[in-house]
Amino acid sequence: MTTIYPGLAASKTEAERQELFDRLQEKANWVRRLVLEVAVKAHSGHISTAFSQAELLVALYQGGILRYDPKNPRWPERDRFILSKGQGGIGLYPILADAGFFPVSEFDNFAGKGSMLGVHAEWSIPGIEVLSGSLGHGLPIATGIAQVGVTDKKDWLVYCFLGDGELYEGSNWEAAFFAGHKGLKNLICIVDRNGAATIGYTDRIEGPNDGPRLEPLDKKFEAFGFEVRVINGHSFEEIFRALADVRRRTVEKPLAIIAKTRKGKGVSLMEDQRLWHYRVPEGKDLESARRDLGIVNADAPAEKTLVQTY
């Protein structure tokens, strides 16, 4: 059994830390390149949301934060990672493949007949814990898992990765009542706070689909009994600082990390732009996206791709 748990970067020297961050940034960029090409080939997939979460997930899986064993995905001592924002599946699969849960070649047939990998995260995929795709399901499930961890005095942690748009679903707050009330300190929520839902922004008033306002989100979680940390979700420095002590927290509260991100991060035409939630670029847009991500030898010709909006 291989346990990938090399320890946190925060304990290393400055030079080692920078070297790790550079390596992880290159991984995150690789994830973005793969996601773009896979989505272009399949004419489907939530690209921009996969881009906002890239650094966070790379840090968790390749930065020694999550405890897991790719050869034994249901290893009982693993940390449970619940991808509540199921549309982010396309951005998690490359990381799972890179970690060794399944071969990268699975992407050749993404969403095709007989394929293992689809648009939303399915629980049959090695490394994916639960079915997701409908929003507001992850946190209630995570509280059930965390409660069993507490009852059975387990030292594994439960991570619940949430989109900020999905926080409109009331079920999250039903779960937050329970988590806060029980003081489930083995539960860590990470909110991909990219400020955009499907077609509207969460805290602006420019368009008819904007809002309702989510802020003050930190105070909401605090009021439900969470410890809250607000970070820049694209900064490895801040991600590691926020997660450095997760295994030795003494406060008897669940932890909510609000990670401020930008939807479509890394591709200038998509970044924080409306309509790119479920849109796959074509033509000049695709050329521009590839240029931003440094893709030189793409398989799929730009003219064969299809434009899809939400």
Partner: protein, 315 residues
């Protein structure tokens, strides 16, 4: 006046479940702020196996999923309309799509919450719950059946929904040797026709059968205590001996128990005349109690008797 009759079927179920919980430490109960006389001992004696989430049915099922995922056998408890419709998507995705061993216990099937109006009436749960793959649905007719179901539910690994009545209803199976795991029970043997019923309506069916007896019609009663999957083979083996079938449910007709049986008839090419009795396409605001609702909408034994007699005369 506290008797077994008044105590009711859910308490018979919980009493057996309590004994199961004492032996099986993987069993947990989650309540959405709902109590029962027989539940208090769970909270006092089994604190690691009893949880409450408040009035929050989505959390009830989602959390049950998380616990089942970690190897727990989970029982959730709320009133029937809320543990079905209020959290339907959680039941569909968190429970059924991942095929987890969770038993949803719903109290107050049909018009059990009679004077509480449409918010508390549960007359579409069979239609919507039977649409979900993997789900097993039980509907006991008395305390003896409920007690047996506690064991059956514990031994069944599938996601499950049990629709209980709320009030104490008479025991029809006490002292009888009944195989509840068969899912179909011959409550009363018949020769001319069978009334297929479930839950509290088994009792109205028995009364109607008695009325019919006086009119020279030998009617039997089949208790469909498992609504999904229906034991088609056993059900049809009884129905093939008689010329006619009637279904009786305290539930709306579209998609209900009668519909399920009609589907079996159609798919199997059966031409046995079938009369479905249940509630029409309406919400009920009428007050005065459950029996008043039954009388107004033709679900009481007298109305059922009349309907059957007229139907037989017309055919």
């Amino acid at each position: 006046m506290t008797t077994k009759f008044i105590l009711g079927m859910r308490d018979a179920f919980f009493d057996v479940l309590y004994e199961i919980f004492k032996k099986d430490k993987s069993a947990v109960l989650i309540s959405a702020d709902n109590g029962a006389p027989s539940l208090d001992k769970f909270w006092t004696d089994l604190p690691d196996q009893s949880f409450t989430v408040g009035i929050a049915e989505q959390q009830l099922i989602g959390m049950a999923c998380g616990m089942a995922f970690e190897g727990r056998k989970v029982y959730t408890y709320a009133i029937a309309p809320f543990v079905t419709l209020r959290c339907y998507e959680q039941v569909k995705l968190d429970m059924c799509a991942m095929n987890l061993p969770i038993v949803n216990i719903g109290i107050g099937a049909g018009y059990a919450y009679d004077i509480m109006g449409p918010t508390h009436h549960t007359t579409e749960d069979i239609s919507i719950m039977r649409a979900l793959p993997n789900l097993v649905i039980h509907s006991p007719a008395d305390a003896t059946a409920a007690a047996a179901l506690a064991r059956i539910a514990h031994e069944t690994a599938s996601p499950q929904y049990i629709r209980f009545d709320r009030t104490g209803i008479p025991d029809v199976y006490a002292g009888r040797n009944v195989r509840f795991e068969d899912g179909v029970i011959v409550t009363k043997q018949g020769r001319d026709l069978y009334i297929v019923a479930t839950g509290v309506m088994v009792h109205e069916a028995l009364k109607a059968a008695k009325n019919l007896e006086a009119l020279g019609i030998n009617a039997g009663v089949l208790d469909l205590c498992r609504l999904k999957p229906i034991n088609e083979e056993l059900l049809l083996s009884h129905l093939q001996d008689v010329g006619r079938a009637v279904t009786l449910e305290e539930h709306r007709l579209p998609g209900g128990m009668g519909s399920a049986i009609a589907e079996i008839f159609v798919d199997g090419g059966l031409h046995t005349p079938l009369l479905r009795i249940g509630q029409g396409d309406r919400f009920i605001y009428d007050l005065g109690g459950r029996e008043t609702i039954w009388e107004l909408y033709g679900l009481d034994a007298a109305s059922v008797t009349d309907k059957i007699v007229r139907w037989m005369g017309n055919k």
